[in-house]
Every structure is written in C-alpha cells, then in structure tokens.
C-alpha cells in the first residue's frame, strides 16, 4: 500500500494495491471535493491504474467517465458546500472494473439517476451546452446503481472490456 499526498489542503489520496496478496486489485481515494480536486484525483487514479495494461482508448474512457461522475458530485451533490468528503473505490474483476463513489452531499433531485440528457435538447433543435455528462456516462459505462442511505449518496457502475484485465 502506498499513500500519496496530492494536495496540502485536506485532499488525501490513498492508493491501495492488494493484488499481490489475494489477486484483488483495489484502489481507494479519499478527497475533499473542490474545483481543482477532481483534476488531481484523476491524475492519481490513472497513475494507480497504470499497471493494468490498459490501452490508451480504455484509459481515455475511464478518465472521462470518472471525470463526469466526480464533477457531478462537485457541482450537484456538493453544490454550495466547500470541501465535502468524497470516497472513490475502484476494483478489478476479470473483464471489468467496478467503481463506487460515495459522498455526503445533496441527494439526486429525483432520488434516482437522471433519465434525461443532452439528446433531449438536441432533438428539440437547440444546441445544448450541458447535459452531456450523463450521455457520456451511459455510453461508456453500465450497470449503474444509486442509493441514498442515511444522508449518504452511493453511485456504483462498471466499465467492461472485451478481454481479461490483468497486471502487466
């Protein structure tokens, strides 16, 4: 296990790799939400995943999906809240990575994952400037699950690959 201090303020980024012990890769990141925190977290996570032998395209998909999900936490769940705590866990399975994101911010407005995205505006003929986040999330990831329990949001999803993912 190695710990990385990504930011002198509050954002502790912990990267755990237990693959040597029980063939289970898990990466855990704890950080304080903020405008520049997501960028730093993404760099750390992508560094943490660098040993999995992923292609550039797969890495680009993971980074984009995580950016959208973590930006949603910063902009919606923690709207008006400074330095809310976020926990991200990434686990490796034979053909996919699973992601769990937890925060203690506002719940999803409808109590569930948004159904509408930019494609709704698009079909009305306007050019949307937002709403692309969930479009990208739904396109690149699958098996979304959202729960609100005891003031805590948990969002889980998976990114699948057409081959086994292993340590390089």
């Amino acid at each position: 296990m190695r710990a990385v201090w990504a930011d002198a303020n509050l954002s502790e980024i912990t990267v755990q790799d237990r693959s040597a012990r029980d063939d289970r890769f898990e990466l855990r990141v704890l950080y304080a939400s903020g405008r520049f925190a997501v960028r730093q977290v993404l760099l750390s996570v992508m560094d943490g995943l660098s040993g999995l032998g992923l292609s550039d395209s797969e890495k680009a998909n993971i980074e984009l999906v995580l950016a959208e999900a973590l930006n949603n936490v910063a902009e919606h769940a923690y709207h008006g809240v400074t330095a809310g705590l976020v926990e991200l866990r990434v686990r490796r399975f034979p053909n996919h990575l699973s992601f769990v994101i937890m925060d203690e911010g506002h719940p999803m407005p409808t109590g569930e994952i948004p159904r509408h995205d930019a494609t709704d505006t698009w079909t009305r003929g306007d050019l949307p400037e937002g709403g692309f986040g969930w479009l990208l999330l739904r396109t690149l990831a699958r098996n979304f699950a959202y729960r609100r329990v005891n003031g805590r949001n948990t969002l889980a999803f998976e990114i699948h690959f057409d081959r086994r993912v292993r340590d390089s």
Binding site: R35, R39, A67, N71, E75, E129, G130, L135, L136
Partner: protein, 117 residues
C-alpha cells in the same frame, strides 16, 4: 487558462495553453474567448492540439464559445487528440463543428507571412 491568438483581417488561430479543457478550466476558457470576440474576424480556428483531455464541461465551453462568437465569427476546430475527438463523436457534436485534421498549413503560412511583413 491562457489562449494564444494569431490573426489577420479574415482569420484568427487560437491555441489554448494547458493540456486539460475540463470543469476547472471551462469558465476561464469561455472568458478568454469572449475577450477575443471583439476582434470580429469572420473565422476563428481553435487549435486543439495541446488539449489531451476534455470533459463535458470543456465541451460545453467550446459550444458556448461558438454561440457567443456567432454570427460575427464562425468557430472551427482543428487537430483534435484521440480522447478529445471521442467526446465530440459520442455527443454527435462532430456534426455541428467544422473539424480540420490539422491547423490548415496555408493559413499558418499566411499568418506567418503577415507577421513578418
């Protein structure tokens, strides 16, 4: 975010400094484009070659830039990295923008000549 601009009467080539057009950079990017809008050239080519990562906030900022430049200036894009190109394709925004594979050479030469002369 800092934008570098080269221009003559008809065209402006704008190159962002920094490799991430993300949620943290989106507002600054749009403000910088707004500052350049006063030049009122008919075309602006956004040279995206330095940008290696763009999220939906960055995409929204590029669309916002196009809207605020119109109708005086038409925004076109050039030299998208694979990860950036993917975002345009998945959102079908590649159908909205004119996207050049590279910054057109004759325009670079014309601008260089213009700068020297």
């Amino acid at each position: 975010m800092i934008l570098h601009a080269k221009f003559d009467a008809d065209i402006m080539i704008v190159t962002p400094e920094g490799d991430r057009l993300d949620a943290a950079a989106a507002v600054q990017f749009k403000d910088a484009i707004r500052a350049l809008a006063g030049q009122a050239t008919p075309r602006m080519i956004l040279d995206m070659s330095p940008v290696k990562f763009m999220d939906s906030s960055g995409l929204g900022a590029v669309i916002g830039a196009m809207k605020l430049l119109a109708p005086t200036t038409r925004l076109e894009l050039a030299a998208l990295s694979p990860a950036v190109e993917k975002v345009f394709k998945l959102t079908q925004m590649d159908r909205v923008f004119t996207i050049h594979p590279t910054v057109p050479v004759w325009q670079q030469e014309a601008l260089d000549a213009c700068r020297v002369g």
